[in-house]
Structures are given as structure tokens and as C-alpha cells.
Amino acid sequence: MDTVSGAQAAGPRAAAAVLLFATLAATCDAGAAAAAGGDAAAPRPAAAREFARRLAAAGRAEVYLTRRFEDPLAGGEVVMHGRLALEPPDRARIEFDETGERVTLRGDGGEWLQPQLEQMLRFGANGAMGALRWWTLFGGATGPGVTERRAGPREWVITMPSSGVAGDSARVELDAAGLPRRIVIVEEAGTPVTYTLEGWRFTKPRGRAAFVLAAPEGYETFELGK
């Protein structure tokens, strides 16, 4: 097993930012918010309220997602499909159909399974830094420097203090039920990436084990720092 620090973790960090609504799960749990450095008494972002209420009542949220962005190098739009699952206090799991990739994020780190490369990357709590930043926000606190601006009848722009990591702000659009249906994050070099979320389901939680990945036999595992 190899250990790598820093640069390779940029992917999961960016992923963590992308999974911003994964972090909404924390809105249900004041304890998790405090653990993530948030202030449980502070007002929760308006864009997250209905989602947080439904998740608190059920314990688990699942949604189909589509990721789209224009890629001039590839000569067109890149589209990926997947699923996102969230559970309080700090768990997210994303799966992509086209690549077979699986990513899990927890307060104590996570794993990233990459079948095409026959490898698994494992990162610690620091590797999930980006996610934890959003945990702080959606854990019930707006936090210093965080702003939420209404951009339309069901649309908000949420901005984090700049961290040097992609995904410092997101435009969130809610559906008629008040659940997020579209998130646009401007990634590196100003490329907007749109996530469309469809078919929200709120079910019973499956627990931590559903958010821990194991490498299949023959896969190489790399540790990405602590």
C-alpha cells in the first residue's frame, strides 16, 4: 500500500465541494454540526431547510444525478450519470454509472474506488477537507464569511470564503417541493458544472458500513495523506 499526500487529494476535495448537498445531511444533527466546527444555533441556509427537514424525519436521502459540462478539448458536452446517498451525521456516497467509480465521504475520511484503474484511493479527514467546509456551513451555521443570496423565486447563490479549492460557490435551484434540483458549481478556470438532481427518496438509514468501501481483490490501494 502506498501513501501519497496533497495533490492527489485535490480530486476528492473538489468532489467534496461538488457534493455540497451531501453535506445538507448534517443539518439534522446539531452534534454533527458542532463536531464539524459549525454553530448549531446559527440559521441554516434557506436553500437547505426543506431538505434538512425531510432528511431529519427519514434518516437517509437518495437521488439520481446528472453531471454536465462543456469541454472544448473533448469537443462537446460531457455528461455523466450517477447516484448520491446521504445520511447524518456526516456521510455521503456517490456512484457514477459510466466509469463505475464510487466515492464515500465521512467525517473521518473516505474512499474512492476507480475500476478503470483497478485501484482504490483512501483519504483521511484532511483529505475530505472540502466536504468538511460545507459541513460547517450546512451543519447549521452560516459561519464567518459565508453568504447566501437569493437569486430567484427558488434559487440561491451560496458562497464560501475562498479556500484555494475549486467549488467555493454554488448556485442552488429548488423544485416545487423545496428540494434541490439543480446545482451549478464553477470549477477551475471558470468552467460551470451543472448537477441535476432527480427522484429524491427519503428512507431509513443504513449506517456507517454503507459508506465504507473495500477494494476488490487485485486492486491496488493508495493512502492519500491523513
Partner: protein
Amino acid sequence: MRRGAARAAAAVLLLAAGGCAGPPPAPALLDLERLERRHEALLDARRARLRGTVAELSLWLETSARRWPGAHATYGIGGPDTLRLRVASSFGTALDLAAAADSLWLWVPAERAAVRAAAGEPPLSLPAAAAFAVRTAAATWPVPATAWRASRPADTLTVVRWIEAGDTLELGVGSSGLPRRMRLVRSGMRPVRVTYLGYGPHEGTPWPERFEVEDEGGSLRLSVRVRRVWRAGAGDAERWRPQVPNEAEMLDPEVLWRRIAEEWTP
């Protein structure tokens, strides 16, 4: 059963005898001309597809110090000396490299840092580096006609050798006419070897699908597996250059290399 075993043994003995018979004979002139024509036809077909070709690939890098995690990447070829390579995952870009005859750009989003080097600036010989990258990816090694006359056999390959801008290039061509291995010798650096392990179809033409680039000192080996290749049109010049934000820190190449090395050091 026994007869079959005897035949197999005879075959092995014949092969062994052949193996002891010294180096294989030089290809007959007619065979050589046929091979040259085959090679040229395939080379022309690949060259005709250069501009605008894009490929999704997996990369594995091994250095003398360690084996790095594999990565997903995309390359795009803008011409014989223009190539952009973006190493990225489903969640963002790790690095974006663009090599052209007159410039080299490297953009590392996680560092919010970029490097731009112009042609002629040390330590890179940009025209050669960009052309080398394209030739490696597309196996478009231009063998001069004179080199075929002086070819020699090596294993099952025909090896042609020529000198280009002070570099010595040796190309091993299979009987199909496709490059199988290439060796570049440049004064002051270790010889570099490219081994083509497999070709796949690209618009009906064989295109490098699996290849390795390594230095003969064993300090670096890059393994490449192309997963998908297509042509997306040439596009404008901007397509072959990373979109580096204005606020990106522009670094001296050596500073960025050092920073990356520190970041990646366990």
C-alpha cells in the same frame, strides 16, 4: 498422442536450431520495399487523422522512487507539434499541460499555479518536446527513405535508424508496418524508449492503444492505455491551451516542479 508429442519436440528442436543459427538474415529488398510501403501508407493514414484527434486514457507513472496512483486523462492533438494533455477525474482537473512548437503551458488548479515557457527557454527544447509528444501518442515517426535502405532485422522487427536535429532515432517496425518500439538518443540525457504494446481502430486506421514511455536508466516509466479515441474537429487555437485564470500564480518552472515534488512527497 505420442506422435503429437514427437512433432512438438521436433518443432522445438527446429526452433532451437534456428535460434543457434546466428542473427536472422536481412530482409530481402522486395520485402523491405513492401514493408516500407505498408508503413508509409499507415503513417499517412495516422497523420491524416492527427488534427482534432482526442483520446480518453488511463495513465500509470512509475519513478525510481515509487509507483504513483493511476490517473484518468484526455489528450487532444492540434497538429504535428501541438498536444494538450489534461489529467482529470470525475471531480475536477489535476493538471493541464499544453505543448506547442512556440510555448508550453502547465496549469495546476489545486495549486492555482501555472507555468508558461516560451520556445528556446531552457531547460526545454519545446519544438522537439511537443513533436515528440505527438509522435509518441500517434506513432507518427517520420522515417526518411534512406533509413530503410540501411535497415537491420532485430527479433521479428525491422529496425530503421536516422538522425534528426542531432538526435538519433531507432524505430522497430513490425511486419504489419506498424511501429512497435522507438528509441531516442540525445546527447546529455538518458535514451528514451517508447514501446507500442497494442493498436486499436481509429476511423478504420490502427492507432496506438497501449504504449509505454521510459528512460533506459529506469528512473521513469509512463504506461498509457487509450480507452476511447475520436476526432472532434480542429477547433480554434484556444482549444489547445488551458484556460488559466487571471489570478493564477505564474511560476518559474523550477519553482512549480519543486512545489509539486514537495506536495507529493509522502
